[in-house]
């Protein structure tokens, strides 16, 4: 039976600000899950801490709202223990690129098969609008006493050098495009980063919906007109993000350079879509190569005892013999 977005909705009260970009992202998530027809009980969502982090509570699947900056290792643990689950991890720009930066970087070395989606609005909303790691230097959003003193991190470029095998950027109000990117990220076999640009109507008074979409008010008619939209889609250009031959070092180098350059584009034009994609063995593949039991079943499903007697099933007599002295 085909699932609908409604099947992934809970009746939990949503307390995001009106006009929050999170709404667009939440809708896209629910629709993408329905489009992929994933059984809700086989989906496990993780989030860190921030406004966005309430997302799992609004989605009818298994959900874990974890600690500030730590969603990634929580999600990795779950995915490695049971690779059959569809694990999607949500981070925020402060959560994932600030306090959780170490995990963001190091997870790139593992290529765990999961989608890491970062809600990126340039501010720490839940603590009243401080500058986040993706806010540009010199920008003064509403609650900053002075313009931002730090430079911004470029998450796509970091992900590229860290080893992510799928790197994409979405935009919160491009529902269809975002749905598509979520689906691609979930279906990608390996670690996918999807950075999602989103307005924070309350605190980020600079990078607004109008700013991203180039909307201007027509004084005469009072209607918003799209003049010079900043966000555009890579797929509407001749940009090819995919490494077609993962054994071709030259192609990898070329596609990485291209992605790095594309990731620098910001200001008048902001690209969205897939920047880079390559198929490489996952961490789960690597574990299976060394742990025979994982060929048969997930770590979470290995029987450890006889449920009737409680006796442990493992036989350690060989290991004890190796330590035997008499």
């Amino acid at each position: 039976m085909a699932l609908k977005a409604a099947d992934f909705k809970t009746d939990v009260h949503n307390d995001w600000c009106p006009g929050c970009g999170d709404f667009g992202i939440l809708n896209a998530i629910q629709q993408a899950l329905a489009e992929m027809n994933l059984p809700p009980e086989e989906v496990l969502l993780f989030s860190g801490v921030g406004c966005f982090a309430k997302t799992p509570h609004f989605v009818r699947t298994y959900g874990c709202h974890t600690l500030h900056g730590r969603a990634v290792p929580f999600a990795v643990g779950a995915k490695l223990a049971n690779p059959k689950l569809n694990v999607i991890c949500f981070g925020g720009d402060g959560d994932g690129y600030g306090i959780g930066a170490g995990h963001f970087l190091n997870n790139g070395r593992r290529n765990v098969n999961m989608l890491y989606m970062v809600f990126d609005n340039g501010v720490y909303g839940l603590t009243k609008g401080q500058a986040s790691p993706t806010l540009r230097r010199g920008v003064q959003t509403k609650s900053l006493p002075l313009p931002n003193i730090n430079d911004a991190v470029n998450p796509l470029a970091v992900a590229l050098s860290a080893g992510y095998t799928f790197i994409a950027r979405g935009y919160a109000y491009d529902g269809k495009g975002l749905r598509e990117l979520i689906r691609k990220g979930v279906e990608h076999r390996g670690l996918a980063l999807l950075d999602v640009l989103q307005p924070c109507p309350t605190y980020n008074t600079i990078n607004t919906k109008n700013w991203y979409e180039g909307l201007e008010m027509d004084e005469a008619t009072g209607i918003k007109k799209q003049v010079n939209p900043r966000v555009y889609k890579l797929e509407s250009t001749d940009y090819d993000p995919v490494v077609h031959n993962p054994d071709d070092v030259e192609e990898i180098s070329r596609k990485m350079s291209q992605a790095f350059q594309k990731a620098q584009e910001w200001g008048e034009k902001i690209p969205t879509g897939v920047f880079y994609q390559i198929n490489l063995p996952t961490f789960e593949d690597r574990l299976k190569e060394r742990i025979p039991a994982l060929e048969e079943q997930a770590a979470a499903k290995i029987p450890i005892h006889d449920p009737k007697t409680g006796s442990p099933t493992v036989d350690i007599s060989g290991a004890l013999e190796a330590l035997r002295v008499v």
């Binding site: 929580f74 223990a81 689950l85 442990p312 493992v314």
Partner: protein
């Protein structure tokens, strides 16, 4: 010939020069001959070059601590001689490299038998014999086997024990090295048969018959814990490299046949949160660390407490604070682990005190974690992590696994049929709610670090907060009721003794060995071992201590943390404390000395300071 209750052999040398493997070879040869072993390992926070040493106590009866005296000191560098010659008993022996000293007098111990071991000559002869002259540099490592052989030769333990040990050590791809090492050992063994030395040296090791059917292991703490985890069903382990905990994870990783997924994480925050994420899916999951790593794990542990996730954390204490003495012993984390992480949640804290408890407690820890759905901390320490001991075979058949209220698919279906929608944090009388795992149909739940309702959604309602706090904290009371007292506290000796010693963790061995000596001196002492600190065995401890004539706590920390915990729970104050915090484990001698000082000089706080 002098008959000793126990004999103490020490080998020292530069870190990385093979001290550990020679100590193991010596111990295995003795153990194979039916003797009992307790070995203490000391090393610097350094990879190559700094001084390290291993002290092996050998006895005809089981021993579980080291003694201060050394009866035979095996050296191949000057530093070992200088650092440890003062510990050698008069009439003992020192093996030294004659290349390093012009005359034996330079060693400064004329009251000892000073035996020059011509390491270079023996190794050169071996190289010639096996046509390996070009590998002479590489073969220097054989100094170790040469010194062990010279020691066992002097001690008169038949060569066959060493030969078999060497042959058992060099197996597989390295089997070809066995004959060469045996040959070198034999030359060295023969050397110490010199009648003059044999007649002057009073100590001998004799094989002891092993009762038929008895099997013994020689094991260290990290391996004991790792094996306990394997039997206990742990199939997911995370760690960030740290001394002295990493050895445990490395043992698990080097035995993939047991099916344990081991992940080396980017830091301890990732280690704990990854382990928790795994535990959410139903796997028995654990992480192992030392104090600095445990500090980083505090927040993650609180999340597991809030979300009732079964998780087992091993903390191998070392001397703190900060980096402290990274390779040295201390019991300074007790009070910290009892309260670590902000806010309040239930936790169980076990303090295994010997290498049997390291194994069995690991199994119990997972049972408690799942039964009470909360973090369980196993508080170990460096002394036992790195101790080598002969112990009875583990009785794996006596162990069992209790998965608590983990729902099978049919059980979940029955529950849904009778109660409607599944609620992960359903309020129950015990505070424990039946647990589903992701992947199970109709078992969907939400977890959050925020206070939550029964379904797991954020809820700031004050009444809900009250109910949920009571639900979680009540589990500790249930645990206190259910867990048998013998798992929580141990009592040794006569109730009616002059002195009651109270301690925990690795001090146990020195105390049990020391009590024997005290008895010979006419001092009767019994020993109360606090095995589980949370939930605290209040009634039992109060009952023992109320009747005790003189209460002394023995701990490896500055402030007597267990004494403080006992006072907190029972209101009972210790009469005196015997404390040590110089980074070296307590010896049998120090237990005796400490108790004597308390009794004779009425000292209320004895500070111990032995150890190099």
């Amino acid at each position: 010939m002098q008959k000793l209750d126990s004999f103490s052999w020490m080998i020292g040398g530069a870190q990385g020069s093979g001290v550990d493997s020679s100590a193991t070879t010596f111990a295995r040869a003795c153990a194979a001959a039916g003797l009992h072993i307790y070995g203490k390992r000391e090393y610097h926070s350094n990879i190559k070059g700094d001084h390290s040493y291993f002290q092996m106590r050998v006895s005809e009866r089981p021993v579980q601590s080291h003694i201060d005296e050394v009866h035979l000191l095996a050296t191949f560098d000057k530093e070992t001689v200088e650092v440890h010659k003062g510990s050698v008993v008069p009439g003992g022996a020192i093996l030294y490299d004659p290349v390093l000293y012009k005359t034996p007098g330079e060693l400064g111990r004329d009251d000892c038998l000073l035996i020059p071991v011509p390491y270079s000559e023996i190794i050169q002869a071996t190289a010639r014999e096996f046509k390996r002259e070009k590998d002479l540099m590489k073969l220097q490592i054989m100094k170790n086997v040469v010194s062990v052989a010279a020691s066992l030769g002097l001690l008169g333990l038949e060569f066959k024990w060493l030969k078999e040990t060497i042959e058992g050590y060099f197996t597989g791809r390295r089997a070809a090295l066995a004959p060469m090492n045996v040959w070198a050992a034999e030359q060295s063994y023969k050397l110490t048969q010199k009648p003059d030395w044999q007649s002057k040296y009073p100590y001998r090791l004799k094989p002891v018959p092993v009762p038929s059917g008895e099997r013994r292991l020689m094991i260290n703490g990290t391996t004991a814990a790792a094996l306990g985890k394997i039997v206990g069903g742990c199939r997911f382990q995370t760690y960030y490299p740290i001394t002295p905990a990493s050895d445990e994870s490395e043992y698990l990783e080097s035995h993939p046949e047991f099916g344990v997924t081991v992940v080396q994480s980017e830091d301890e925050i990732a280690a704990i949160t990854m382990a928790i994420g795994a535990a959410v899916t139903g796997v028995r999951s654990s992480t192992s660390t030392s104090g600095p790593g445990f500090s980083l794990m505090a927040e993650g542990m609180g999340w597991a407490g809030m979300n009732e996730v079964p998780i087992v954390i091993f903390n191998y204490q070392r001397a703190g604070p900060a980096t402290g003495l990274p390779t040295r012993h201390e019991q300074g984390d007790l009070r910290f682990v009892l309260t670590a992480s902000h806010g309040e949640f239930p936790r169980l804290v076990l303090c295994p005190a010997d290498l049997e408890e390291y194994f069995y407690d690991a199994i119990d820890a997972f049972n408690y974690a799942e039964r009470y759905q909360t973090p369980v901390i196993v508080l170990c320490d460096k002394a036992l992590a790195n101790a080598t001991q002969t112990i009875p075979w583990y009785d794996v058949k006596s162990t069992h696994i209790d998965r608590g209220l983990l729902l099978t698919d049919p059980e979940l279906a029955v529950q849904i049929a009778s109660e409607g929608e599944y609620k992960r944090f359903k309020l129950t009388e015990s505070g424990i709610s039946p647990r589903s795992v992701p992947g199970q149909k109709n078992g969907i739940f939400w977890l959050t670090g925020d206070e939550h309702d029964e379904a797991g959604h954020i809820c700031e309602d004050p009444d809900n907060r009250n109910r949920m706090m009571i639900k979680r904290m009540h589990k500790l009371e249930v645990a206190a009721r259910e867990i048998p007292i013998e798992k929580r506290v141990s009592f040794f000796g006569d109730r009616d003794a002059d002195v009651t010693l109270v301690s925990w963790g690795s001090c146990k061995g020195a105390i049990l060995d020391g009590v024997r000596i005290l008895k010979q001196q006419g001092i009767s002492a019994n020993f109360l071992q606090i095995h589980m600190v949370l939930p605290f065995p209040t009634e039992y401890v109060a009952q023992i201590l109320t009747k005790a004539r003189r209460r002394i706590n023995i701990e490896m920390n500055y402030s007597g943390q267990m004494a403080q915990v006992i006072r907190e729970h029972t209101g009972i104050t210790m009469d005196a404390s015997i404390l040590k915090w110089n980074g070296r484990a307590i010896s049998e001698n120090e237990v005796v000395e400490g108790v004597q000082r308390v009794l004779k000089s009425q000292e209320s706080k004895v500070m111990l300071s032995h150890g190099a």
